[in-house]
């Protein structure tokens, strides 16, 4: 097979025997399939992440390894709470009163977030507001189904948020896949991949439900029980294994600072 220019996909001619498939109604499809799929695909590392030899201005060649040279390799650590209980309580109060949501709508549930900003619901009065960058946000609302492709971005964004950080799963899709339970491309259980503090069920949950969910989250924070970030750090290998199990082309460092 010819390899396209700059393609990271190399296709082989190997013919795979295909078992009889079922159609959506569960009826067996004809056993002899004219034109069965007969290609396999091998994943290659992304070109920009590959090691490369580079010639410096002084003419000396050296190796650049992007994942090592361009990204911090350190993993997450468990961050202790403040030394004084009273200080930590103050912080927890402030955290609960100041919830900054990352403005990242992962699925259709994002549409239910908008009304929260409107006069009708006005989440601002509870100290909730939206930030455009994960660095400044501390709540990540996974708003609905999460496809594998989006999951990759969601993980990056989550890891780029600062400790303590919270995740709210919004809608049935984040809980068990919802109506996408048999989809080939959406995850079914969010808490396999990110530490979820609160799930808000429904398809879709109404803004009132969201507000209720945020109130619950606040209570958890106030009580010092919303330690998802530390949990993620503690069980980092487990989370990472789960993530990598479905993200086949893991093309980023293990932890995205």
């Amino acid at each position: 097979m010819k390899v396209e220019l700059e393609s990271r996909i190399v296709e082989g001619p190997e013919v795979v025997g295909v078992e009889p498939a079922l159609d959506l109604q569960g009826k067996a499809l004809p056993a002899v399939q004219p034109g069965a799929y007969s290609r396999t695909v091998t994943l290659m590392p992304r070109a920009e992440l590959e090691r490369r030899m580079v010639k410096g201005p002084d003419g000396v060649e050296f190796e650049v390894e992007p994942l090592r040279d361009y990204y911090c390799e350190a993993g997450p650590t468990v961050m202790p709470a403040a030394y004084l209980k009273i200080v930590e309580d103050l912080f927890n109060w402030a955290r609960s009163r100041s919830i900054w949501i990352l403005g990242f709508g992962t699925g259709c549930g994002a549409i239910e977030m908008r009304p929260l900003m409107t006069p009708r619901f006005d989440a601002y009065r509870f100290g909730i507001q939206w930030r455009p960058t994960p660095r400044q946000a501390n709540l990540f609302v996974i708003s609905g189904y999460l496809s594998v492709k989006t999951l990759k971005r969601a993980i990056r964004c989550y890891e780029q948020m600062q400790n303590p950080k919270y995740v709210v799963g919004l809608g049935s899709c984040t809980i068990n896949g919802g109506m996408y339970w048999d989809s080939y491309n959406t995850i079914k259980r969010l808490d396999d991949y990110l530490p979820v503090d609160v799930y808000i069920a429904g398809c879709m949950p109404r803004p009132e439900a969201l507000l209720q969910g945020f109130e619950d989250l606040k209570k958890l924070i106030r009580a010092g029980k919303a330690e998802g970030a530390n949990q993620y750090a503690e069980r980092f290998d487990w989370y990472k294994a789960n993530q990598k199990q479905i993200i086949h082309d893991w093309d980023m460092p293990d932890y995205n600072w």
Binding site: A81, F91, A94, S98, Y124, T133, Q136, N138, Q162, W257
Partner: protein, 301 residues
Amino acid sequence: MPFDWMKIPYALLTLFIVFNFGMLLNALIQKIGARVGRRYGVPIWQNYADLIKNYGLRSSITHGVMYYLGPVFRLTGGVGLLLFVPTIYGSEMFSNLSFAGDLILALYFVFFGTLGMALGAGESGHPNAAIGITRGLSQVTAAELPFALAVFSVALQYQTFSITDIVAVQQAGFTSWTLFTNPLAVAAAMLSFLGSMMRPPFDVVLAPQEIPIGPPTEYHSSYLALMQTNRAIFPIAKIVLYMSLFFGGAASWPVFFLKVFAIYMVSVLVGVAFPRFRVEQSIRWFLIWAVPLGVLSIVLV
């Protein structure tokens, strides 16, 4: 020259008052903005919660030395600007550290924080930060010009660069405010003021949806907290300058609070009513509408 050590606690007192005033004022402004949109708005102490939270965040990252120093520069700029200008006219206590320099010092010290912030954001390596800075700097070149002209016009009018002296002349009465004696300069300066407050229609620098808030896009945790602190102080410090030059200054804290609030409201009122300009649009706007006023003011003064 013997240094009066008592100036330090006095200056810190000013700082304290202005900081809290700024925190509350910012929330109040947000609330007013919300009410315009028929929302209830944030609680008046919301900014404190945000600030404490940001100081209380447990983790942070650093991109390098300049990135680390950026917010320090920024806040130094704000605090310095506040302290280089006498806050309350006639009060030895609140004349702060204005012995170090006059109006021009204040004028140029404004850029101290901007420069540091720009450098810090630059080191973060984020393209949006650089884009935001280019927008900000581009806009500033046009927005600052009417202000510079107005300031110069005022200095010409009073033949001095000393802020105290300028306020002293205006203390004679309501009608001796620069607002009435040199209206063109004040008009130019107030138009420029709109541009420097980072509110619509001149907030393309931050543009949250387009270049996720521009320069501070990588800043978080305590860095962001320092910058939030600055956001409470810096606008007030700047408004103090406006108040002293154009609106008769303040001889007491209540007058101070009132005037600062009123001046701040100008930009808020404009901000809630107008959509955002692109950079080149705002540059043209300043050059076409504000600069001629400034030019007239220095020619006619």
